[in-house]
Each structure stands twice: as structure tokens, then as C-alpha cells.
């Protein structure tokens, strides 16, 4: 099947990182983000722009309800959605009120080969991964219409194949794509971006997936719902004490990349529809 369909001509010829075997993906180039590239040589600038673009694919995993795959620079994240299924029973949830919404369960794991700095990652989820899973759960739950699926459970499995920076924000984007692919109703797409700042520096830099962020810097991750203009989640990891206005400045810087990602994700999803369904798209 894969050999019959041609590789689309807008895939770059020397693109070794793109998963060209799965041809459902459409290459969407996000607009270059203004103000983030340093004053450059032309090759450096082109590479920077390329690093800041997302690559979306859906329907990668065959046996799931929905799945999504996002590459941001070198960071690669794969999400799959299972459900709605039987809810988990616990002693206290026999009361009817608790069953009026679906339970969202997020599992987040780095693949053993995923990390650049840390060497091999163990099979069991560690503290960072558990924290990322609860952050993803708190970020996606406001946007999902869980009240449409009472007495059920939705499982989201998030696997990071390569972590070259900006991993959590890419996971949020990928999880959102997987949930849309699964056909679950949502109020809005949730997109996220991360800015980071090394200890002692003054400017916040957008974190891209090129492995340039070393461990010892402060980072602010913001998950934003563009159409609703609401913040779905925010995580600040400080390597040094920060002034509150620095954190709010970082959140404002995060807003634009979130909006850019929102529009490119939305465009990707619309392009995935068959041509006759496109006229029925939601505004």
C-alpha cells in the first residue's frame, strides 16, 4: 500500500527525519516566528526557521481510536487515544454524581532511547514523567467535553520518541491532535509553547527542539486555548528565584507561538478532511 502512493513533492529531498512511509501526513510549514531568530548568517536563519516548524501526522497507530504524531525540530512525540471504555471502579465512586463525566487518564513516558543528555531512561515512570502526565491531564481536561461521555474512561498514552527540548509543550500539541483524531468533542484546540532562560540571563528565549537547552535553565510552559482566550495550564520550573513580573512577561511571550501553532494545527486538520467535507467546516 505504501509503495503505490507517491511521496508528495513538497517533502524536502534531504529530509531524513520525516517518516515518509506513512503518507497520510500533510506537510504544513508554520510561519516563521518573528523576533526569535538572532541576527544571522543566511544558512543559520533557514535552519532556525526549519527548527521552529511543526510536522503533524495522524492515524499512525492502527488499533487505536485516534493517534497523532508531532515533530518539533528534533523532538518527536507520539500519542494514542483509547476509549471510551469501562470506568475504573473505586470504593468511593459508587455515587452517581461521580460518573456523570468521563475520566481522563494520561500516561506519559519517555522511550528508553529518547533522551540526549540522560542516557538510557528506565522503563518505570519516574517523578518527571508522572508530573508531566498530571500536567497533561490538567491541561486537556478543560477543553474536552467529558460530560458528553458519562460512565466511561478515556486513556491517552503519550510516548516521547526523542527529547531535544520543548518536550512537554510538544506533548500537549500531540495529545490535542490525537484527541481530535479520535473524534472526541472539544471546546477548543489546546496548544502549548515553552520559553526558557539560562541562569543569569535576562531574556526569555523560545525553546525549540534542537537540543540547545541544557538542564540548568528556568522554563515557563504555557498551554493556551486560542479561541476561548483562556489559559489551560502553566508550569514554571525555576533554576533561580524569579520576579513575578518576569514570569508574567514570559507568559506573554509564550502566547504568540501558541497562537501560531493553533492556526497551523487547525489548518492541518481541515486539510485532512475530504474535499467535499471542507465546506462544512466549523468557523
Amino acid at each position: 500500500r505504501n509503495s503505490q502512493l507517491p511521496i508528495s513533492d513538497h517533502v524536502m529531498p534531504l529530509d531524513r527525519y520525516r517518516n515518509t512511509a506513512l503518507v497520510d501526513g500533510i506537510d504544513v510549514r508554520a510561519l516563521p516566528l518573528a523576533g526569535d531568530c538572532p541576527a544571522p548568517a543566511s544558512e543559520g536563519k533557514q535552519q532556525q526557521q526549519q527548527q521552529q516548524q511543526h510536522w503533524f501526522q495522524r492515524r499512525l497507530v492502527q488499533d487505536t481510536v485516534g493517534s497523532g504524531y508531532v515533530e518539533f525540530g528534533d523532538t518527536k512525540v507520539l500519542c494514542s487515544v483509547h476509549g471510551p471504555m469501562e470506568p475504573k471502579r473505586s470504593v468511593l465512586t459508587d455515587a452517581g454524581a461521580e460518573q456523570s463525566r468521563a475520566q481522563l487518564q494520561v500516561y506519559y513516558k519517555l522511550a528508553p532511547f529518547a533522551s540526549h543528555q540522560a542516557g538510557r531512561v528506565s522503563y518505570l515512570p519516574d517523578e518527571t514523567e508522572r508530573r508531566a502526565a498530571s500536567f497533561l491531564q490538567d491541561t486537556l481536561a478543560p477543553s474536552l467535553r467529558l460530560d458528553r461521555l458519562p460512565k466511561s474512561r478515556i486513556e491517552l498514552h503519550c510516548l516521547v520518541l526523542e527529547d531535544a527540548g520543548c518536550c512537554l509543550a510538544t506533548a500537549v500539541n500531540c495529545a490535542c491532535l490525537a484527541l481530535v483524531d479520535a473524534g472526541l468533542e472539544m471546546y477548543d484546540l489546546v496548544t502549548a509553547a515553552t520559553v526558557c532562560r539560562p541562569v543569569g540571563a535576562t531574556d526569555w528565549q523560545l525553546e525549540v527542539g534542537d537540543g540547545s537547552n541544557s538542564g540548568g535553565s528556568s522554563s515557563v510552559t504555557l498551554a493556551y486555548m486560542r479561541s476561548l482566550r483562556q489559559v489551560a495550564g502553566m508550569l514554571v520550573e525555576a533554576a533561580e528565584p524569579l520576579q513575578p513580573r518576569e514570569v508574567s512577561a514570559a507568559c506573554r511571550i509564550c502566547e504568540d507561538p501558541c497562537k501560531m501553532t493553533h492556526s497551523s494545527l487547525r489548518q492541518f486538520l481541515l486539510d485532512c478532511l475530504p474535499a467535499d467535507d471542507r465546506t462544512a467546516k466549523i468557523a
Partner: protein, 221 residues
């Protein structure tokens, strides 16, 4: 935990009264409950503290590990060269939260995991010359675990660490603000926590600088 047995009219009552700036125990929206702090309860710990904030009761013990050989084995390094290198390296504070007094269900475990992640990030900026282990035991829970645990842990760390280390780094505390409808409340008890859609937890040091910040909860802001 207990709050999952709240009925819908009770939930609505708490929600509506908070919108009118009245909380069910009569506090103001930005008022804390009465807090008590007791120090030096445990003899084998380097320092210990117990905080009770309403019915929330947290016991913290801080232990400094004096034996660098033990940590050399933990990190998998070999020989005595590694031991000498250990003494120059600064260690992060390692935090463990135990919720076993509340029961052994998954909700309790989730509470413990979340608290551990938050408290580890609170003390991320703190570096000590010897490994320091902070063990937090939750004896009673009525909401606002993070604030109480941070008060107790910071108090115990202030007793345990030498003054030279403390003058350079002021120990941080958590402040958690819940959002119920359009009102913000501070120091929510368990019933109010179950009605809140979202919360922001901010770790602040004595100079007013942020050390950690995270939004939680299934609502947006």
C-alpha cells in the same frame, strides 16, 4: 477522599456562598486557618517540625546524610576517588511524601505523588553540601496540603541547615489560590477544594521572588 461524597446541592451551596465572599466556616476569602507549628519532636532526625492547619496535619523530618560512602554507592561510582569528588559536589534536596495514614487507595497515592512533585520543585534551587532527605508524613488531611507541608519542611530545613547556607538562600513557601466561579480563595479546606475548578500554586521566597509556579485542576483560567 471524603469530599467525593458531597452531593450536588451541597456543592452548589458552597459555590454560591463563595461567590458572595462567604465561606462555609465563616472566613474571609483571603484568610488562612489557624496554624500551629511544633519543632524538634523526633530524636533521630536532624530536625523535625509538625504543622497543623485546621485539620490538615503534616509531620516533616529532615535528615542529613553524613556518610559520603553510601551516596557513592548509590550513584554507581567506583573507588575512593569518587568519594573525594563527592565532598565538593552540591546535592539537591530529596523529598518523599507518605500518605499512608489516610489509607492506601489510588486517590491518596495521587495526592502524595503530586505533593512530592511540587515540593521537589520548590526546593530545586537549594543546594546542600551533604545529601539532605526530607520525609513528609501526612497525618490528617482537610485541604491545602501543599501550603502546610511547605511551612513544615521549610521550618525543619531552617533548623537543620547551617546558617551560612541559609543567609545566601532564603527558604521558600507555597501559597495556593483556588478559583471557585469568579472568586479566588486561599487555604481551601477539603470541601472547597472539591468545588474548585482550578488552582494556582506559587512558591515564593522571603524576597518575593518566584521559585515555582504551576496551575492544576480541570478548569481554565
Amino acid at each position: 477522599l471524603l469530599a467525593q461524597l458531597l452531593s450536588e446541592p451541597e456543592r452548589q451551596y458552597i459555590f454560591d456562598s463563595v461567590q458572595d465572599a462567604v465561606r462555609i466556616d465563616g472566613r474571609q476569602c483571603l484568610a488562612y486557618r489557624q496554624a500551629a507549628l511544633r519543632l524538634d519532636l523526633l530524636c533521630y532526625a536532624t530536625a523535625s517540625a509538625q504543622v497543623s492547619l485546621g485539620e490538615t496535619d503534616v509531620l516533616v523530618s529532615v535528615r542529613e546524610e553524613d556518610n559520603p560512602g553510601a551516596t557513592a554507592q548509590q550513584q554507581g561510582s567506583t573507588g575512593s576517588v569518587a568519594v573525594q569528588q563527592q565532598q565538593a559536589v552540591s546535592h539537591p534536596v530529596s523529598v518523599w511524601v507518605d500518605c499512608s495514614c489516610l489509607g492506601s487507595g489510588p486517590e491518596q497515592q495521587q495526592l502524595a505523588d503530586e505533593a512530592q512533585a511540587h515540593l521537589s520543585s520548590l526546593y530545586r534551587c537549594l543546594r546542600t553540601p551533604t545529601p539532605v532527605f526530607v520525609d513528609i508524613l501526612l497525618l490528617g488531611y482537610d485541604g491545602n496540603l501543599l501550603d502546610a507541608a511547605s511551612i513544615a519542611a521549610s521550618a525543619a530545613l531552617m533548623r537543620a541547615l547551617p546558617a551560612s547556607l541559609l543567609s545566601a538562600q532564603a527558604l521558600p513557601l507555597f501559597a495556593t489560590v483556588h478559583r471557585i466561579g469568579s472568586q479566588q480563595i486561599v487555604d481551601a479546606n477539603q470541601l472547597e477544594e472539591s468545588c474548585s475548578m482550578a488552582r494556582v500554586t506559587v512558591g515564593v521566597d522571603s524576597n518575593g521572588r518566584l521559585v515555582a509556579c504551576q496551575t492544576c485542576g480541570e478548569g481554565s483560567l
